[in-house]
């Protein structure tokens, strides 16, 4: 009986703590919305195994915010509220609900991975809050499953089919490839998406896919599938994954005597990639660091000065998403998500990667750059559109 009382007290404490917490949260919201504040939520994996992606995005957003005069845009103070989704769709959903209903944000920058962005986009649409995802490439982020547009949702990166199509075209026309092999992470929608489109378009263009093999995201040893590919001697090896995985694959591929040209997507754009292993490989990217446009040169310099390393594609797109949002706030001089949505839909902006505007599905219209890793440097090859 004594024990029961103890337990009852424990339960009561937990419940009252929860209620108190929710009460506090509301009080905070009440005090700050009185002033001219626009709240911007950032959803990114800030802990867990892809923390480094999330940190890059957050660095990009932080840099954009730090460039505002006194942290203000017109009459509005910009308040950024970062949150951690651990790359887990459930946590991203919880966090988006928190940002929208408790912090009352006007806009969300995020999430980083498509599997987190899809549920967040549904909530953003439902509560009519603007959302710009910097890096989620799945088509379902801006479209619902019936193909209807979620009109509060935008992205600043390419969609999966776009990069796959361009890569296939580049392989066929510029590299004169006849055969290709594809390696992809079967648990990662980004690489599954790119690889499927590449395979389809490459075969449609008259090429032959000699091998299509998958691995899982925790693998480090690819020798079995690479040994299987080696005797087929493909002209091109398509590796549409993030930099940390392709570094390992490329190195082992060369060890297995695979001579193919490596080809990949924007996940390759990172100073942490193993440039020696990637030597000679091409990838589709948003911009080239060699691009003489002042926006690009400026951006690389600023980022280097602040964080001591070159920006990767996550940081660049995080910055770009913030740029787009801030321009919309500036032109409308408002924090109303509906006004911001209309502004972005009709916007043309000299953003960091290119001059971009948005199509009817909320995707950016911008050319794709083909970049080559050559002698530990990124070399611009050409611009392409599908």
């Amino acid at each position: 009986m004594r024990f029961n009382r103890w337990v009852a007290i424990f339960v009561l404490v937990i419940f009252s703590a929860a209620i108190l917490l929710s009460g506090c949260g509301q009080k905070q919201a009440a005090t700050t919305t009185g002033e001219n504040v626009i709240k911007v939520g950032v959803i990114a994996p800030l802990s867990g195994d892809v923390k480094t992606f999330g940190e890059s995005v957050k660095n990009g957003v932080d840099l954009a915010v730090s460039e505002l005069k006194d942290g203000k845009l017109g009459n509005f103070k910009i308040e950024v509220i970062p949150g951690d989704d651990r790359n887990d769709p459930k946590e991203a959903t919880n966090l988006a609900t928190k940002l929208i209903t408790e912090d009352k944000v006007s806009a969300i920058i995020g999430a980083v991975t498509s599997k987190c962005s899809i549920p967040v986009s549904q909530l953003a649409q439902q509560y009519k809050v603007l959302m710009i995802t910097p890096t989620s490439t799945a088509e379902k982020v801006t479209l619902d499953e019936n193909g209807k547009r979620k009109d509060y949702v935008f992205r600043v990166c390419f969609i999966d089919p776009f990069q796959g199509t361009v890569a296939a075209k580049f392989a066929l026309n510029d590299l004169q490839a006849k055969t290709a092999a594809v390696l992809y992470d079967q648990g990662n929608d980004y690489t599954v998406g790119l690889s499927e489109v590449f395979k389809k378009d490459f075969e449609a263009g008259g090429g032959k896919i000699v091998a299509s093999e998958s691995y899982t995201n925790q693998d480090t040893d690819f020798s079995a599938i690479l040994s299987k590919i080696a005797p087929k001697n493909p002209d091109v090896l398509y590796l549409p994954d993030y930099y940390q995985k392709v570094s390992l694959i490329a190195k082992q591929a060369r060890d297995k005597g695979i001579k193919a040209v490596f080809l990949g997507g924007d996940g390759w754009d990172s100073p942490s990639i193993d440039q020696a292993a990637m030597n000679g490989g091409y990838f589709t990217n948003h911009y080239s660091v060699e691009d003489p446009r002042p926006q690009v040169q400026d951006w690389v310099k600023k980022y280097q000065a602040k964080y001591g390393k070159r920006p990767d594609s996550f940081a660049t797109l995080g910055y770009e998403a913030a740029q787009v949002l801030f321009k919309a706030i500036e032109t409308t001089n408002s924090g109303d998500p509906t006004k911001l949505r209309d502004a972005i839909q009709n916007m043309t902006i000299e953003a960091v990667t290119a001059k971009i505007s948005f199509d009817k599905n909320g995707n950016p219209v911008k050319p794709l750059a083909i970049i080559q890793y050559k002698d530990n440097k990124q070399v611009f090859v050409k611009k392409m559109t599908p």
Binding site: M1, F3, N4, V7, F10, V11, I14, A17, A18, I19, L21, S22, G23, C24, G25, Q26, L46, S47, G48, K51, V80, I81, P82, G83, D84, R86, D88, P89, K90, E91, T93, N94, L95, T97, K98, I100, T101, E102, S114, K115, I118, P119, Q122, L123, A138, K140, D144, E145, Q186, G187, N188, D189, V192, G193
Partner: protein
């Protein structure tokens, strides 16, 4: 007899009062949609964890693949809802039943061979089953495109609300209680304490283990079904081995063989993870994982029997009680 009805009455009144309280707080906005979502998630975890509680806490069968059954339930229920979603509440009940039956059936099928294994070996076999399910779900779109494979499944109707979750959880708690204090439940406990001895006194150990495992997996499937109707997106990564560890952590921290412990810990656990966001604030977002790990270690060091250590709230225990169930746990 009089006391028994008293207890049932107490429980019913308590549940109704709690429900009304929650309902009022939600309608008046004291609990905003965010905390509401956390509450819903905590109830889902409760249901799933009660399933593992039966398998591990009461029957002593070490399972490291519980999240896989939650996933099977979520996917089958979600698929059912997407296909027959036009009948409203009826199709939701159908979906939950489908999730429950499918996960239970898979539990039964995998249980028949692997339940012959003991302790850690059983753990590894169920862990392996978890991996198999992950691979199957990753490639499921090649057979049924609606499941989405690695790209995840969207479009499940978001129909779960307080009534559904609260009363389902309540029914599950009552069902679990009745099971545990039935002859079968006693048989389960006897297997946990000593399988050989249980065999000697005439318990059909294999059948009992299989029944407990199937029941536990069915509850996992039910939790999964609710999950699919509370969260707008499900993907295979949601039901990986690390999620199985989460359920294990809840059951063990709650105290093996304590339903009360499982329920309270499941709710506390869900609120802890979200509450840490507020405690840490935006400056220390990346400390969440570290603090969580520390809380985990400290809790188990302080309460090695789990928070409730085999004890129950009085109203969850039927009157006749011969022996304290936690006596042998200390061994």
């Amino acid at each position: 007899m009089f006391q028994k009805t008293n207890k049932m009455l107490l429980m019913v009144i308590g549940a109704v009062v709690l429900y009304v309280l929650l309902k009022i707080m939600i309608t008046t906005g004291v609990i905003n949609p965010y905390w509401q979502r956390v509450l819903f998630y905590s109830l889902i975890v409760t249901i799933g964890a009660l399933g593992l509680g039966i398998i591990y806490g009461f029957t002593g069968q070490f399972s490291l693949g519980h999240a896989a059954f939650v996933g099977l339930g979520a996917y089958s229920a979600g698929y059912f809802s997407k296909t027959f979603g036009q009948y409203g509440g009826l199709s939701f009940i159908g979906a939950l039943l489908v999730g429950m039956v499918f996960a239970g059936l898979m539990g039964f099928l995998i249980g028949v061979p692997v339940l012959r294994l003991k302790s850690d070996y059983l753990g590894i076999a169920t862990l392996g089953f978890g991996f198999i399910v992950k691979v199957a779900l990753d490639n499921a779109d090649k057979i049924i495109p609606e499941l989405g494979g690695a790209r995840g499944m969207v479009g499940t109707p978001q129909v779960a609300n307080l009534e559904w979750l609260f009363f389902t959880a309540l029914i599950v708690i009552v069902l679990t209680r009745n099971f545990i204090f039935s002859t079968y439940g006693r048989a389960c406990t006897s297997i946990r304490e000593d399988e050989t001895a249980a065999d000697m006194i005439g318990v059909n150990t294999f059948k009992t283990k299989l029944m407990a495992f199937t029941f536990g997996c069915a509850l996992a499937g039910l939790g999964g079904g609710l999950y699919a109707h509370t969260y707008p997106f499900i993907c295979p990564g949601d039901f990986y081995f690390l999620q199985s560890f989460d359920y294990l952590i809840v059951v063990v921290l709650g105290g093996l063989g304590s339903m009360t412990g499982t329920v309270v810990t499941a709710i506390g656990w869900a609120f802890l993870l979200e509450g840490l966001r507020f405690v840490l604030g935006p400056q220390f977002v990346d400390f969440r994982g570290v603090i969580y790990a520390l809380i985990l270690i400290i809790t188990i060091l302080v309460r090695r029997q789990g928070i409730f250590g085999g004890k129950e709230f009085g109203f969850l225990v039927p009157q006749v009680r011969r022996e304290k169930p936690d006596a042998a746990l200390r061994g």
